[in-house]
């Protein structure tokens, strides 16, 4: 009888389905996975250590670069932790803006996840559809912060500035016909809120479009149903959060259970799965797209009716307006102190968590009373999810590994930090 041995397969870090820089060492018996050992850290930038060497505000842009497909949610977790330390109450309008942009971010993230997950499993079209809509949402990011991805829009005490009254339009150019540009500009005639409202109106129809491609698709179901099953007990044991835990049937969502920002003022439902497999998690996330649209519409309506300040007026924390600074000595001093030194929260520690699209994103900040965090620990949802890789793929085929990586929605910016 010939000797049969397990062999080891290196998956990544340059594999297109590895979602970045995952190196997966797979021990295989034929095509069945015996053991999976993810090697991470290839994108480690020591964000937490860098944060210790900078004033609090200067770390906000690093947060965008953690989970680089759900930028503002990471910012939100970080500023909330500092606000907790400082004891700052954020103005209500800022809370609504944060809620609005958290949900825009959730759609951005889920579209990215949907496109790449489907692409990994073999469906090309969904990817193109999803990226078409992402373009509109990134325009919202750009309109509000000037950057399409790394916004650095949230500030301690609110957001950097109010929503713009005019949505930027495309200029005529030599690459596209004027008629095409005019069609693209149709929805951009009003304010940013009008644009978002229009998006929220047409988005549910677009979600239907993705669903016609996948939900009843025989190949999609063959690749996802019964793959990577996690029971609710195991999900809790493995520190799962977000859609990964909801896919297993636990109705746990921080937006409902421990509401922050304006989530206790808006109406939405939490979808939960039944079987805890890849297909259920797919359904959960698709429904979250619809629920996010619902929240966005409520926020848009509220923001239209209620103008007001978007950041606290305490100039020990937020800089005074530029024109005050020019004429008023005290404002100038505040401005100077804030930008050369920052603010010093009282000594203590705080943990603040948000329901990021991937799960619970938390920041644990230890302050020793200085202008820099003494210790910042970023609790990234993907880190805990990827740690369960071995358990989830054991006994599955090699092709299912790709489906499981897809369903975990891993992004290495946050896992490696």
């Amino acid at each position: 009888m010939p000797e049969i041995r397990n062999y080891t397969l290196n998956f990544g870090p340059q594999h297109p389905a590895a979602h970045g820089v995952l190196r997966l060492v797979l021990e295989m018996d034929g095509e069945v996975i015996e053991r999976a050992d993810p090697h991470i850290g290839l994108l480690h930038r020591a964000t937490e250590k860098l944060a210790e060497s900078k004033p609090y505000n200067q770390t906000i842009p690093y947060m965008d670069r953690l989970d680089y497909v759900s930028m503002m949610c990471s910012e939100h977790g970080y500023v909330m932790a500092i606000e907790k330390l400082l004891g700052v109450e954020v103005p209500l309008r800022a809370k609504y803006i944060r809620t609005l942009f958290d949900e825009i971010t959730r759609i951005l993230n889920h579209l990215m996840w949907l496109g790449t997950h489907a692409l990994d499993v073999g469906a090309m079209t969904v990817f193109l559809y999803a990226f078409r809509e992402r373009e509109d949402l990134m325009d919202c990011y750009e309109a509000v912060s000037g950057a399409r991805m790394h916004a650095a829009y949230y500030r301690v005490g609110g957001v950097y500035r109010d929503l713009p009254d005019v949505m930027p339009r495309y200029a005529n150019n030599q690459f596209r016909s004027d008629a095409d540009i005019a069609r693209k500009n149709e929805t951009r005639q009003g304010s940013l809120l009008d644009f978002i409202d229009d998006f929220a109106n047409r988005f549910p129809g677009l979600v239907d479009e993705y669903e016609t491609l996948l939900t009843d698709n025989r190949i999609w179901k063959q690749r996802t149903v019964g793959i990577g099953v996690v029971t609710p007990e195991r999900a809790r044991q493995l520190s799962f959060t977000g859609p990964m835990v909801r896919g297993s049937g636990l109705a746990w969502d921080l937006r409902k259970k421990q509401p922050y920002a304006a989530y206790n003022r808006v109406d939405f439902d939490i979808p939960v799965g039944v079987n805890g497999d890849c297909y259920d998690r797919y359904l959960v996330r698709i429904e979250e797209l619809r629920q996010s649209t619902r929240i966005i519409k409520q926020c848009v309506q509220w923001l239209r009716e209620n103008p007001g300040p978007v950041i606290v007026q305490d100039h020990k924390i937020s800089p005074p307006a530029r024109d005050y600074m020019k004429g008023d000595m005290e404002s100038l001093i505040h401005h100077f102190k804030l930008f050369t030194e920052g603010y010093c929260p009282p000594a203590g520690e705080a943990y603040a968590a948000v329901e990021a699209p991937k799960g619970e994103f938390g920041c644990y900040v230890v302050s020793d009373g200085s202008n820099k965090p003494f210790r910042l620990k970023i609790r990234a949802p993907g880190f805990a999810h990827l740690a369960a890789m071995d358990e989830m793929v054991k006994g599955h085929m090699l092709a299912d590994v790709v489906a499981v990586i897809g369903t975990m929605d891993v992004v290495f910016g946050e896992i490696d930090r």
Binding site: W252, N264, G362, G369, A387, D416
Partner: protein
Amino acid sequence: MNEAVKTKSQLRHETLQANLIDRYASKGCVVTAALGEVTMVIPREHLLAIATELRDDAAFQFEELIDACGIDYAGYGESEWVTQEASAAGFNRGVNRHIIDVSARGENDRFAVVYHLLSMVHNQRLRLRTFVDALQPIVDSVVGIWRGADWFEREAFDLYGIMFSGHPDLRRILTDYGFVGHPFRKDFPLEGTVQMRYDAEQARVIYEPVTLDPRVLVPKVIREDNRFVSNAQQDPTDA
């Protein structure tokens, strides 16, 4: 957050705090509540027993470990630039780097492991902290209690050099293969110790000592803020 919710969560925290004190104060645990969060400091010899109870006891049911991380308390509360009186010279951004004296703290309060627990049933959180010996930083692993602790403990080992006895597979996780040192310790320079480049002569990637100068762009300062001082006196338990 409306008032009813706030008082309810406050009430839950107070019950939790009272329960914890009642149960574990005799074992040397210190329970504090601040900023709406409950923290319990556990002597490390009792960690496993208490953690198991916290998970299984109906009064607590902390079934999920949200996070575990290491902390290096060296240099806690030290300023890089003390400005009590007017000085003629500013802060030197270049070479005069503040060197943290790691031996200033006692052996038993330099490193700590912090666990964040979550109970979905009771919808509440708890923070556990356990100090470890600075010379022999070893603490019992909680992987047997919460499987999710696996990577969190590997990370704490990698970045702080805290060893977890009973961990099934304590390898480095975030740093490079063959990395030397524990980079998040306060005495490890931000710039690192080695840099890597491709050497054309040897036709391979080589490591060499780092050539970056350590620079502090904004000095760390501690300001006595009267607003927070008075707050702390009025309401020491909850903000």
